[in-house]
């Protein structure tokens, strides 16, 4: 059974059809890249998947449950981790506290009023931070992190509830080229080791063609192609609207 199955998803804003009849599925352990030019509807798609937007029509099945219309916090409870295109973290807290809070939420302990939060799940938080390479920064304020480190922190937060599905909206934007590949290789390893399904959008074609198992291409709200790297690179419409006919950006 697929971890995520999307069927005929639709969303319009005013007269603009941002997402038109999009259908796809992600299997456990699979990394699926969603690419396309700006305005293709990728972020709208993501926002419907994690519940920020309610689809006009269509089904979203996550682990066998229809989640269309559920709020983000309910989708998260089903085991969906999310990172944002523009990072969203808690600026008044330390890096460790950011992750601790996700763990507190997962254990349904946020309504506790008495015992200090400082010591709860500290070790588990440190372990998650070590996994993404942020162990040395655990005590620093999240607000002062470099942008690439914020992306890593978001990943650690997203991993805190041991998700079965990871939604990553431009997970490497703002990172140096070498960092990008390292970050996504880490995600690749996690996906393989834990059977984690990953759906991500990305503009770096090295990352997309190097690490994704399969690639979806969107343009003007509709899926125009689906397949492995070779098939996508050869696809005439994809070359016309996105990759460019020189097709050098894939660069292998």
């Amino acid at each position: 059974m697929s971890v995520l199955r999307v069927e005929r998803l639709r969303k319009s804003f005013g007269g603009v059809q941002a997402v038109r009849d999009v259908s796809f599925a992600v299997e456990a352990g699979e990394m699926l890249a969603l690419i396309g030019p700006n305005g293709a509807g990728k972020s709208t798609c993501f926002n419907m998947l994690n519940g920020q937007l309610r689809p006009d029509a269509g089904h979203i099945d996550i682990a066998g449950r229809d989640t269309a219309g559920l709020p983000p916090r309910a989708v998260w409870r089903l085991g969906v981790g999310r990172t944002f295109q523009i990072t969203a973290t808690f600026a008044s807290m330390s890096v460790r506290e950011n992750v601790q809070l996700a763990l507190l939420s997962q254990h349904r302990e946020v309504w506790r009023l008495w015992r200090p939060a400082a010591a709860r799940h500290a070790a588990a938080a440190e372990a998650l931070l070590a996994q993404v390479g942020l162990a040395a920064q655990a005590g620093r304020a999240a607000a002062v992190l470099a942008y690439g480190d914020l992306k890593r922190l978001e990943l650690a937060i997203a991993l805190a509830n041991a998700p079965r599905l990871l939604l990553m909206d431009e997970p490497t934007a703002g990172m140096a080229p070498t960092e990008r590949v390292a970050q996504m290789r880490l995600v690749r390893d996690l996906a393989s080791a834990r059977g984690l399904a990953v759906l991500f959008t990305e503009h770096d074609m090295d990352v997309v063609f190097g690490l994704a198992d399969r690639i979806l291409v969107m343009n003007r709200g509709a899926l125009i192609a689906e397949g492995n790297g070779e098939a996508i690179r050869a696809h005439p419409e994809v070359r016309a609207v996105y990759l460019g006919t020189g097709a050098t950006s894939g660069g292998h």
Partner: protein, 602 residues
């Protein structure tokens, strides 16, 4: 029926005069002009003086109105150039505070120049004229006021759609940065918008004279009404303001007929209903990101030295009755109560991220609940205090349900409006609350020392409890909701419920402070719910630093001491306090959080 409708139209016209200026100013400059009521009051007083020197004819009145509008436009322009221009980039709470400083200063200036007595116009025959309408007599002057509404609406509409100036103002309302990027000098634009708003407020002021009088409380009641209209109509929307004026004017005049006592509550209920259905008001749009640099500080546990100092201070306070006399004890009690009050507001506006401009509401509800429990139910203190806490918590939960989804300006204005309505109820519902005379004889039935220790235990305990809650998972989750509600929801936090819980908790703590205050003073008065008290709490929190956990405690002590000194030094304490607020805001436009005061330890 016809007469009631006409009365409603007249009320709507006055509301629209006030609200149109406020909403246009907000639309262009994004400043909620608290001093709008003061401009209205100045219009009434200045108009009174000008009309006294002119012939008592219709033409004299018209001339006086024009002269008043010109004077107010000038005053508004000077205010914009001197103060507001400097704080466009400051956090909205600071803008509200700065304009409230203007309110305080204008109050003292007006009282100094015109005296404390109400001023009314001599009423020449043309003002007393009546028109026969459907068999009933209707004052001719009110028809003129009604006529102002469509004329003004039409003129503003033409001005905003058909002139270059109007197009620029609308452009600024939509996107200031883009307009600036197009090379438009916005300073002159904003000054002229402010002058226009001030002139309209002045016109409202002078039109209020023939049917009423100029008095020193008209500023705050007017600005509350105008806030309600603007919020219901949608911030920055002129047509929204017109629609809301009509709605609320009619509600006011028919409400008095059906529910004479509850007309204010009716207006509030209407506002709550509109906002529950349309959070941005009837015709408002969601506010675009303000791009204001709200400083979010990194919160760390208090250092050991500060904790030790705190415990030492607590020990000293516990021993105080053995050394100090009753007067010193009563001052200390006032400070302790202020500490709990400030800490409760801090929970709401700091970690909760909900700036409240009407925190006195919960304080007052607690005080009145305690006093009424003692008086009407003959309940002793151990029952009256829990009643105070419960009632305040219940009211906060009910009100919070409507407002926790709102953000910055809307929240501040709504909490303010709610507090003003609580104040009006305490003031008007004489049978129960004793009106202006308050409720006397609310004594704790304990000795001075015994009561002091009770106050110390409850206030220190309550404040420590709030601190404890902030360090607990709940406090972290609350702060997370403020830092990034997007991320908070994405890790399973119910930000709405968290905020509502914080709102209720803060209301309960403020209610306890109010209940204790009632017993400490032996009486309750409507001033317990006054705007002044809300602002006191705000200043305590801001003085200590919003972004710190220990801040409100230190701020409460510093401010109470300062305030008592000021009261004993000068009769013009409002003027001095207002000036101090303005200086504070101008000196630290990014908020005190950006500054490390010695008291800003965590």
């Amino acid at each position: 029926m016809l007469i009631t409708a006409l009365n409603g139209l007249a009320a709507a016209a006055t509301l629209f005069l006030l609200a149109s200026g406020l909403t246009v100013i907000f639309g262009a400059t994004r400043i909620v002009n608290f001093a709008h009521g003061s401009l209205y009051m100045l219009g009434a007083y200045l108009g009174w003086s000008i009309l006294a020197r002119l012939p008592h004819t219709p033409w004299g009145f018209a001339l006086g109105a024009v002269a008043t509008m010109a004077a107010l436009a000038l005053f508004g322009a000077l205010l914009e150039i001197g103060l507001l221009r400097r704080i466009y980039r400051a956090p909205e709470l600071f803008q509200l505070l700065a304009t409230f400083g203007v309110v305080l200063m204008v109050q003292d200036v007006v009282q100094h120049l015109w005296g404390p007595a109400e001023l009314s116009l001599p009423r020449p025959p043309w003002l007393r004229g009546f028109v026969l309408l459907g068999g009933a007599r209707y004052p001719r002057f009110d028809l003129i006021v009604i006529a102002v509404f469509p004329v003004l609406l039409g003129a503003l509409w033409l001005g905003f759609t058909r002139t270059r100036w109007g197009v620029l103002v609308r452009a600024a309302t939509q996107d200031r940065d883009m307009l600036a990027a197009l090379g438009v000098d916005q300073r002159l634009l904003f000054t002229s918008v402010f002058a226009l708003g001030a002139a309209l407020a002045g016109l409202a002021g002078i039109l209020a004279l023939p049917d009423g009088s100029a008095d020193l409380t008209m500023d705050l009641s007017a600005v509350t009404d105008a806030f309600v209209v603007v919020v219901v109509g949608g911030l920055g929307s002129l047509s929204g303001a017109a629609l809301a004026s009509l709605l609320l004017g009619m509600l006011q005049s028919f409400g008095v007929l059906w529910l004479p006592r509850a007309s204010l509550v009716l207006a509030f209920a209407a506002m709550a209903m509109v906002l529950a259905l349309r959070p941005n008001g009837l015709l408002g749009r969601p506010l675009a990101g303000r791009g204001v640099g709200e400083v979010v500080a990194f919160i760390r546990p208090a250092p050991r030295a500060l904790r030790l100092a705190g415990w030492f201070a607590l020990g000293a306070a516990a021993c105080a009755p053995l050394i100090l006399g009753p007067y010193a004890l009563s001052v200390l009690m006032e400070m302790l109560i202020a500490m709990l009050f400030a800490a409760s507001l801090h929970l709401m506006m700091g970690p909760g991220g909900m700036p409240s401009f009407g925190h006195a509401a919960w304080f007052g509800i607690g005080a009145y609940a305690a006093a009424l429990a003692v008086h009407a139910l003959a309940a002793p203190l151990p029952l009256a205090l829990p009643a105070a806490v419960l009632l305040a918590a219940f009211a906060a939960a009910a009100f919070g349900w409507f407002v926790v989804r709102l953000s910055g300006v809307y929240l501040a204005m709504l909490t303010l409006a709610f507090a003003q309505i609580c104040w009006a109820i305490a003031f008007q519902w004489g049978d129960v609350t004793g009106g202006d005379n308050g409720i006397l004889g609310v004594w704790p039935g304990l000795g001075v020392r015994g009561f002091y220790w009770l106050v110390l235990a409850l206030c220190a305990g309550g404040t420590l409890l709030l601190r404890r809650v902030l360090a607990a998972p709940f406090g972290h989750a609350l702060r997370a909701s403020r830092d990034s509600s997007l991320r908070a929801e994405a890790i399973g936090l119910d930000t709405g419920r968290l905020r509502l819980a914080a709102f209720t908790l803060a209301g309960a703590a403020a209610g306890l402070a109010g209940g204790l205050y009632a017993f400490a003073e032996g009486s309750v008065f409507p001033t317990y719910i006054s705007l002044q008290r809300s602002v006191d709490a705000l200043l305590m929190v801001l003085l200590g630093g919003v972004q710190t956990i220990s801040g409100p405690i230190l701020g409460a002590f510093a401010y109470t001491g300062l305030y008592d000194t000021l009261l004993s030094l000068t009769d013009y304490w409002r003027f001095v306090l207002g000036a101090m607020i303005i200086v504070l805001v101008l000196a630290f436009p990014q908020g005190l959080a950006g500054v490390r005061l010695p008291g800003a330890a965590r």
